[in-house]
């Protein structure tokens, strides 16, 4: 079922890329030119339109990785494992960029590049989990074992996501609480529109990147497998002659 869904979605890859480009261009235009400066932070608040969508997308990417890993452990579908491998690399990229842009925002607003705040620390733990996941995939040679262990790590690591989400409520943190929650929206519409446009754009971009990367991994594996098969055939025919 999920294999069919992945193949069907892959057919609309171009639409995802186009939607990402459109939303990001509109979001950047509104964020840099159309939105007002913040009363306390001034122009620096514009960093929000790139930092927050990157962080949201990192969490979305990990959710995809978690779902895919659970499905893999159940059905043992190599295509889903391929997708999980691709999602982990992208999630690591989005997490790193969210951390760096957050540091740049932290310097003018908190007067420090880094602090061991609950939100920042739990987000960094997410990066370590992803680095561990990717290292495991590099160092284990047996493909089935590699996929199984990686899926287990991804599922265990999912514990960090609710900690990241609720860290600003559970602990007294320097990081500001969520602007959009069940309790309502606490930012003006002039800032909300570019933020939503950028968040949707980043989610489309991640989906598009995931398709391209999954395709890349699939083609590399296919090429290696075919080459290996041809090579073994060549050796067999040589041995026979």
């Amino acid at each position: 079922m999920i294999r069919k869904a992945i193949r069907r979605i892959q057919r609309y890859k171009g639409w995802f890329g186009g939607a990402a480009a459109l939303c990001l261009i509109v979001g950047l235009y509104l964020g840099l030119l159309g939105s007002p400066p913040d009363y306390y932070q001034g122009e620096v608040v514009r960093i929000m339109y790139v930092h927050v969508p990157l962080a949201h997308t990192a969490l979305f990417a990990y959710t995809v990785l978690f779902g895919g890993s659970a499905w893999y452990l159940w059905k043992r579908d190599p295509l889903v494992d391929n997708m999980c491998h691709a999602a982990a690399g992208l999630c690591a990229l989005f997490t790193t960029l969210a951390l760096f842009t957050g540091m740049i925002w932290g310097k003018p607003t908190w007067n420090t590049w880094w602090t061991w705040d609950a939100r920042l620390t739990s987000f960094m733990v997410l990066l370590f989990i992803l680095v561990g996941y990717l290292m495991l995939r590099t160092f284990i040679d047996e493909p089935e074992k590699e996929a199984r262990y990686a899926a287990v790590i991804a599922i265990v690591g999912f514990v960090d996501l609710p900690i990241i989400h609720f860290s600003v409520e559970w602990w007294r943190t320097l990081h500001q609480p969520q602007s959009i929650s069940m309790r309502g929206v606490s930012i003006s519409s002039g800032m909300l529109v570019p933020l939503i446009a950028m968040s949707i754009g980043m989610s489309f971009l991640f989906s598009y990147m995931l398709m391209v990367r999954t395709q890349r991994l699939y083609l590399t594996n296919l090429l290696n497998a075919k080459k290996g098969r041809l090579l073994s055939q060549f050796h067999l025919s040589k041995a026979e002659s």
Binding site: E43, L93, R216, K227
Partner: protein, 163 residues
């Protein structure tokens, strides 16, 4: 492969247009003068002046929104009279942007609003660090996929090796 380069060329042009518009917008609406430039140019309309509130110069009823102080630049200083909403950012030795008009008769700058110093560097670096790696990564991946397709096609590896 050509389609990858054409698509990325289009995106690059869109990004450059956006960057140009943004830089023009900031240059026009957020450009500020130094106190020395105000005293030399004696501007007619409303301007933004960047400087530091000189120590021991702040007087008046600041909490009520009426204040007098000297705004110092590197070489010169400007006498400023502020009348407006109670300011939260006004204090001695604070660097800020004062928005208002120059009054040549009183030889004073009549301010109506304060703004924070614009940190372009932080905003620019956050956007570059946030978006550039994503674009480079995606470009490399798309190029690699196109190359892999070409390699598979050329080597005829897609043909079944059974039988």
């Amino acid at each position: 492969m050509t389609i990858v380069y054409v698509r990325w060329g289009g995106l690059l042009i869109a990004a450059m247009i956006l960057a140009f518009l943004a830089s023009q917008n900031y240059r026009q609406s957020l450009a500020s003068l130094s106190p020395k430039e105000v005293l030399e140019a004696l501007p007619q309309g409303e301007v933004r002046v960047l400087g530091r509130v000189k120590g021991r110069s702040l007087s008046g009823e600041v909490d009520e929104g009426h204040a007098q102080f000297s705004l110092a630049g590197n070489e010169d200083e400007l006498a400023v009279t502020y009348n407006g909403p109670p300011p939260e950012n006004l204090r001695e030795l604070k660097q800020l942007v004062v928005i208002g008009i120059w009054n040549p008769e009183e030889q004073k700058f009549l301010a109506r609003e304060f703004a924070l110093v614009t940190n372009y560097g932080f905003v620019l670096s956050a956007y570059l660090i946030g978006l550039l790696p994503l674009a480079i990564f995606l470009f490399v991946m798309e190029r690699k996929v196109a190359l892999l397709y070409a390699e598979i096609k050329q080597s005829k590896l897609y043909e079944s090796d059974v039988g």
